[in-house]
Amino acid sequence: MIAALIVVLPFAGALLGLLLSRYPHGRSPAENLAANKRAAWFGVVPTALSAALIGWLAWENTPSTNVLTVIDTGGISITVGLEVTELSVLTAMLVGVVALAVQVYSVGYMRGESRYPSFSAFISLFTSAMLLVVFAADLMVLYVGWEIMGLCSYLLVGHWWEERANSRAAIKAFLVTRLGDVGFLFGIFVLGFAADSFRISDILAADIPQSTLVLATLLLLAGVAGKSAQVPLHTWLPDAMAGPTPISALIHAATMVAAGIFVVARLYVLFPQPTLDVLGVAAAIGMLGAALAAFAQNDLKRVLAYSTISQLAYMAAALAGGARDAAVFHLVTHGAFKALLFLCAGAVIHHVGSNLLHHMGGLRRSMPVTFWTMTIGYAALIGLPPASGFFSKDAILYGLERSTSPIQLLLYGSALLTVGVTGAYATRAWLMTFFGTGKIQALPEPAPGTAHIFDGREAPPSMLWPLGVLAVPALLLGFTDVGEFHLAPAVTALVVALLGAAFVYVVWRGSPERDPARLLGAFRDPCEQAFYVDRLYAALFVRPVLALARGVVRTDDGVVDGAVRGSGRATVGLSGLLRHLQNGNAQLYVTGVLAGVLLIAVGAVMLG
């Protein structure tokens, strides 16, 4: 019951926000302000209530299942129900807290935006969908939430739709994930038909042959790779940074992209070794590649986006290596510190009026709160004690060290290397943002797609409070699982990370004006372009499909419809021939009649 309320509350908030914020429908500045105020209430209050209820569920800590109704489809029926498990409460907690922080933050970030009402309503809708995924007791219900999240991502990435690039990014985000989701749906079919039920508990309990499981889970992986931005379907995430920063924090860092990892963890017992190996290889490639790409990016949000891909690959690697709990642990800590990092980045971008690291520098004095909270976020990302990331990364490395997976060496090696690169790129971004000399140039008028430029020293309180609130779990969450701490991998990781960081620091110290990314040398361009995967896909898929589409239109007009028109012309032509017989000449008619009579007579004689 409580779970249902948790899911429905933000949904109701979204509906109310969409329908009632603008009532009565004026568009003057004063009315816009009133609408935004109302929308803020519709956005914040239901999410807060939902988060509180999740807290209650966590405190109560009793697994339960509630079935609302069973939909008889004529085939395998769909159970509309919610299931509260330990994993779901933990993930829901993350979703609730981050969503609330983002809603509050957006009030300040989007101040004066005429489209804030729809923005906050879509965040609420997203929150509801994500919670539905988390609590769903049935794979079909899960799929419903899963796809609605994709839609929200599309709508929110394209929030500043005046800019063509944002619109393209939104389409890309939706289509790439949808491509994966088709596989996901088919995976659900395979599992559902094998277990004769779409209910997760039935499927987990069913006795399904190994080969079926391999097929089903590989299909599921397609959806997981799409949503969690894993290789080879990762390309949408960096572009999705075109959306407003709160969205990047909520959807593209903390929650939606974690949904893929969540689903694997939820159905973990179904995943056989071959599937896990595939997941592991993708993760090993993805984590290092994305970390290198992050090192070369000039756009702060893209740095964080590639970092997200890399960190999600950590979780995937942990899952592949058999360390499910470590993966979930990292999912939660990463959700907290990456949301924090994005919100801090939003504050910085707000202040500077640009996303580019080149335009930043020396901000630590003018933005002290942001500086300290973001430092906590980076510390957690690098894995410095005592921040949360230190513990969760340690758990993953420990798990990979001990893994019995056939690709254990690949996973462990890649993870350790990535720790070093992570230290490097995080340090680079940190130094270029907050140290050195300030280069802020006040732009006269912000271009659409960039935030407003503030002349004040710090972001407004509605933006700072969420930073403070998120900094606490980002810093302290690690201690909740301190019993699982292992010294040896922690020291190894710490040394590697510090090496990476120190290297960048030394290079930067040499000439603070220049970008430490020059370290990469000739390798820099491929890294900045993320190894040209986008161009490859455009050449392999996008352009051929468009060419095919033009071909179809030509064929439709020329061949399919041409045949129709042709048959029409042929009919007219034939009747034109016949028309010559009916030319009104009586002599011809009489001749015809006589010829007929003659023929009949001859026939009668011959045959008779």
């Binding site: 489809t73 289509l175 499909v545």
Partner: protein, 493 residues
């Protein structure tokens, strides 16, 4: 119930007849149309409320008396879980069309209302009749008023489009009639209920009859490659014509599969199903690709219908309860969603004077926020987003193809499923690209003088939006109705 069914047909007929009485009518014609179609809608709702949902699988409200005794044709009406949703949908869409007309007074309003009422009579009759020849008669009654709607109130190329429409569909109907008469010659009865219960025909005769009837219905549906009348007709038809054409007329073809072809000729259906499925998935991908390169918004929506009807036909081709459920769901959902889409595109065309994607300009969400948002909503519904009506039809059709009826080649249908799934991605692609062109981007094109959605327009559109949401979030509303009917149709316990 029986009385209601007769009233359902009598009201539009009498309404049309009343318009024949000469006299000045002026603006009252449309109001008269709203009144009559409102009554029809009320009657259909009444029929839905007295409908016995516990027994949705069997025919209710039988009306059965001899009509042409010499030929054994009977005036046989009835309603069950398959036809009830379509009847209500028809009555609703017709009413909404009249409401829309109230804000867009057509020229020669009296004739227009007359044509629409006749159209409604034919559509309702098709969904209610249980006699093969009666079915055919109503099926044909629809063509004439639609021809005039396109030919008189259509766009600049209306003449050619109307000719193509009537000749093409008449040709299809001729084949359909041959098939129906063949059934009659083989069995000596035209009673659908009896034929569906007894299947007295031999396998080869069934195949022959199925091909003929199926071809006739496929023209109407339309199935690839018999679809080329549709884009022209849609592009030239006036808005309400397009709405009814997509919303109801196409459904008559698919309804024929559910009511006539599959239950009466099960063995024929089993033999032809792989072909039907193949043409269906070709239609899905072909329609989507055609949309991707389309320049005219109305043509685009028309081709999207080809794709969506592909999903419906794929559902039928699986011959499973879930597949046929999917087809029936897809039918209703497509009626609501594409009806809404054509309303919106019509509104755009009326404001901009063109439906050409390049001339419509960009940034619609800024210039006309209501129309833009509703267009986004309708497109998202049409691409099959879960939680909106379009999803269930597509998903269940694919599910049906995953495990088709016993005796059908499973690997083939698995291939269909995969192609259909990719078609769904392409569907999303063309809708999003179109939305990006039209609704996103800098505010361009015709200036701020254009009016956003008017009150009348919203009155016509909001019911569709609500229903799309309701059927998306609560699929049992429809599945609960069709499942028993489908099970009794397929003889599954």
């Amino acid at each position: 119930m029986s009385v209601l069914l007769v009233v359902l047909l009598a009201v539009p007929l009498l309404g049309a007849a009343a318009l024949l009485v000469p006299g000045p009518l002026g603006k009252a014609a449309v109001r008269f149309g709203i009144l009559v179609s409102g009554v029809v809608f009320a009657v259909s709702v009444a029929a839905a409320s007295v409908f016995d949902y516990a027994d949705a699988g069997s025919i209710q409200g039988n009306v059965d008396f001899a009509w042409i005794p010499g030929l054994g044709v009977r005036f046989h009406l009835g309603i069950d879980g398959i036809s009830l949703p379509l009847v209500v949908l028809t009555a609703l869409l017709t009413l909404l069309c009249f409401v829309y007309l109230a804000g867009h007074e057509p020229e020669r309003a009296r004739e227009f209302v007359f044509a629409l009422l006749l159209l409604e009579l034919g559509m309702l009759g098709t969904f209610l009749s249980l006699d093969l020849l009666l079915f055919f008669v109503f099926f044909e009654v629809v063509l004439i008023p639609m021809y005039f709607v396109i030919a008189i109130w259509g766009g600049p190329g209306r003449r050619a489009a109307a000719y193509k429409f009537i000749l093409y569909t008449l040709l299809g109907s001729a084949v359909l009639l041959v098939g129906l008469l063949f059934v009659w010659a083989q069995t000596g009865t035209l009673d659908m209920v009896r034929l569906a219960a007894e299947h007295p025909m031999s396998r080869s005769a069934q195949i022959l009859a199925f091909v003929a009837i199926g071809l006739g219905l496929a023209v109407k549906t339309p199935m690839w490659p018999l679809h080329t009348w549709l884009p022209d007709a849609h592009t030239e038809a006036p808005t309400v014509g397009s709405v009814l054409l997509a919303g109801v007329l196409l459904k008559m073809g698919t309804y024929g599969f559910a009511r006539v072809a599959i239950p009466i000729l099960p063995e024929g259906a089993a033999a032809v199903a792989p072909w039907l499925g193949a043409l269906a998935v070709v239609g899905i991908v072909y329609g989507a690709l055609a949309c991707l390169a389309q320049r005219d918004l109305k043509r685009l929506i028309a081709y999207s219908s080809v794709g969506h009807m592909g999903f419906v036909l794929l559902g039928f081709a699986t011959l499973t309860p879930v597949g046929i459920n999917a087809a029936l769901y897809g039918n209703v959902a497509h009626g609501l969603i594409t009806g809404l889409l054509f309303f919106l595109v019509g509104a755009l065309k009326e404001r901009h004077g063109t439906a050409d994607l390049d001339q419509l300009g960009s940034g619609l969400l800024g210039r006309l926020p209501y129309v833009g948002s509703l267009l986004t909503f309708a497109c998202v519904a049409s691409l099959g987003l879960p939680g909106l009506a379009g999803f269930w039809g597509e998903m269940l059709a694919l599910q049906g193809a995953y495990e088709p009826a016993a005796g059908l080649p499973r690997p083939l249908f698995l291939t269909f499923m995969v192609i259909g799934g990719l078609g769904a991605v392409l569907t999303a692609a063309y809708f999003l690209v179109m939305l990006s062109k039209v609704t996103h981007g800098p505010w361009g094109g015709p200036g701020p003088g254009l009016k956003d959605a008017t009150r009348v327009e919203l009155t016509a559109w909001v019911p569709l939006v609500v229903l799309i949401l309701v059927f998306g979030l609560w699929p049992s509303a429809l599945l609960g109705l069709t499942t028993p009917a489908v099970q009794s149709l397929l003889g599954v316990p």
